[in-house]
């Protein structure tokens, strides 16, 4: 079997039976089924509001929906049962409404991953970097995709405390490629494996800037790279900007990541992210502009 650690030829990503070639830039829209996520807490806590957001982000060009039931930050415990209660019926409702939409479940727990897949999820977004190894087996069992992330070895829902790396990118590469290799060995579809350096997770702002600058080293592995930078603290700290004022910084980082070869972009602001990515794709020559007449009349 081919290991994950050597570079591979970039191939199509296949999710929900849909094939996304390497040049295609995908927007993963965030829908949090939580009362206390960091950006606009409780915005989609109500199921009706959450479904309304799904309609909106689909219309705005989202390719993937990422449904999460537990905030990343420390806080009141959310049990697996409660997490399932928050996300699984919702995933089932979205699947019923959008038979063709790719749905991702943002969870580190295999029990939640299993219930999510049963309800129609296509991708397991394991942001906490393989904390629960059984999640990989669930992805293999259901033929789901799996996001292999670097969280610096931190337990779920913890913040980095004086975290340090001799070489953060080397650590990211080592971790995500190790997880991808483990996923392959467990039988996860190679066309469903995604790697994510996980900005801010187990990282200070300098670390996140470094992995953005050196994202090309991650994309050079050939695995599809997910970039999750939307309105995160490293953007805020860099610009001295509060959460509400981080969109332009997010889009700048998004453009850099797209230019360096990332393929999936997890976003709060779907329409703006779609525009930024389409612009990058056109600059790169991968997207034909909408309508060009300037100077051509």
């Amino acid at each position: 079997m081919t290991g994950a650690t050597g570079p591979r030829e970039p191939g199509p990503l296949v999710l929900h039976g849909r094939t996304f070639p390497p040049g295609r830039l995908l927007v993963m829209a965030i829908v949090n089924r939580t009362p206390d996520s960091f950006y606009r807490p409780g915005l989609t806590w109500d199921e009706g509001a959450a479904l309304e957001r799904v309609h909106q982000v689909v219309a705005e060009g989202a390719d993937i929906l990422d449904v999460g039931g537990v905030p990343a930050k420390p806080g009141e415990e959310v049990t697996a049962e409660e997490e399932i209660r928050r996300v699984v019926p919702f995933i089932a409702a979205v699947r019923a409404a959008y038979p063709d939409l790719v749905i991702s479940a943002d969870t580190w727990r295999h029990e939640v991953g299993r219930a999510a897949c049963e309800a129609g999820a296509d991708l397991l977004n394991d942001t906490w970097g393989g904390w629960d190894p059984e999640l990989t087996e669930v992805a293999a069992e259901f033929g789901a995709g799996l996001v292999c992330s670097h969280a610096g070895g931190l337990p779920p829902r913890t913040r980095p405390f004086r975290v340090s790396y001799p070489d953060v990118m080397a650590d990211v590469l080592d971790r995500v490629l190790g997880l991808a290799d483990r996923a392959l060995r467990a039988g996860v579809r190679p066309t469903g494996i995604v790697i994510d350096p996980a900005h801010d997770f187990g990282k200070n702002t300098w670390h996140s800037l470094e992995i953005t600058r050196r994202l090309g080293e991650l994309t050079a592995t050939g695995w599809p790279v997910l970039m999750s930078a939307s309105r995160k603290d490293f953007v805020g700290e860099t610009l001295g900007a509060g959460i509400e004022d981080r969109l332009s910084g997010t889009l700048a980082v998004t453009a850099v990541g797209a230019w360096l070869g990332a393929r999936i972009f997890r976003a709060h602001d779907v329409a703006q992210t779609r525009h930024a990515l389409d612009m990058v794709a056109a600059v790169r020559g991968d997207l034909v502009p909408a309508r060009t007449v300037r100077g051509l009349a």
Binding site: T292, V293, L296
Partner: protein
């Protein structure tokens, strides 16, 4: 029995903006009415069953080009190329594109006309085209003024609409003398790059000859983006004579 005098049996008049090439204009269907009119004019030209089609279009100098030449858009969009074939001046390339799109595979002569060529030279060049074959088809690629409005590439010149209308009238009336009389200096001021080619057309149709030509049909006359676009068909014309 009848014998054919070498003559132009039909002429199609089309503009030559880069945006006529779909590769340049993105996803959207840009000016579908203009594109359809050009296709219709070329279809009419080919229906007249010419032995050869002469494509006349503006160039930096009067010259004939390799008939295997193709449209080269690389100077407008660097990612696009002529696909290994010799690249042509834009107007000729667009004419070739229209012929190819219409499925024309017969002989073609690609005639660039120097955009500063004097009227007499253009008329003479046109007259010489008549002798190329018994049945000559002419595709004249030329544009009206690029000063048709404040948003036009050359901004507004109040004389522009009148100038373009005079050309439209001449085509509609088959008045080749009016085309022959177009003022090159005014055309240059108005950024009307079709002047020289229209005068080649006039020469080819026999401007100044005793016999007038039948009225033409104007299929499109508008300036949606500030440049005057004219699409017209002259003919088919009967030149059969009893012998």
């Amino acid at each position: 029995m009848t014998g054919a005098v070498p003559a132009v049996v039909c002429a199609a008049v089309c503009p030559s903006p880069p945006l006529l090439a779909p590769e340049l204009t993105g996803h959207g269907d840009v000016l579908p009415g203009l594109r359809a009119a050009c296709a219709a004019a070329v279809a009419r030209l080919l229906a007249a069953d010419p032995d050869v089609v002469v494509v006349a279009g503006a160039g930096s100098a009067t010259a004939t080009w390799d008939p295997d030449g193709r449209l080269d858009l690389s100077a407008y969009a660097p990612a696009l190329s002529a696909g290994g074939k010799p690249g042509l001046p834009l107007a000729l390339g667009l004419g070739v594109m229209l012929l190819d799109t219409a499925g024309y595979a017969g002989p073609r002569v690609l005639q660039a006309v120097g955009d500063q060529a004097p009227a007499a030279e253009c008329l003479g060049l046109g007259a010489s085209l008549r002798g190329l074959a018994p049945r000559v088809g002419l595709l004249a690629m030329g544009d009206g003024s690029a000063r048709r409005g404040v948003a036009a590439p050359g901004h507004l010149d109040v004389r522009a609409a009148r100038f373009d209308a005079s050309v439209e009238c001449a085509l509609r009336d088959g008045d080749m003398a009016a085309l022959a009389a177009l003022d090159p200096d005014l055309a240059r001021d108005l950024l009307a790059t079709g002047r020289a080619v229209w005068q080649v057309l006039a020469g080819a149709m026999g401007a100044g000859g005793a016999a007038g030509i039948p009225a033409g049909q104007v299929l499109y006359a508008d300036a949606p983006l500030g440049v005057g676009y004219l699409v017209a068909v002259l003919g088919p014309l009967s030149h059969e004579v009893d012998s």
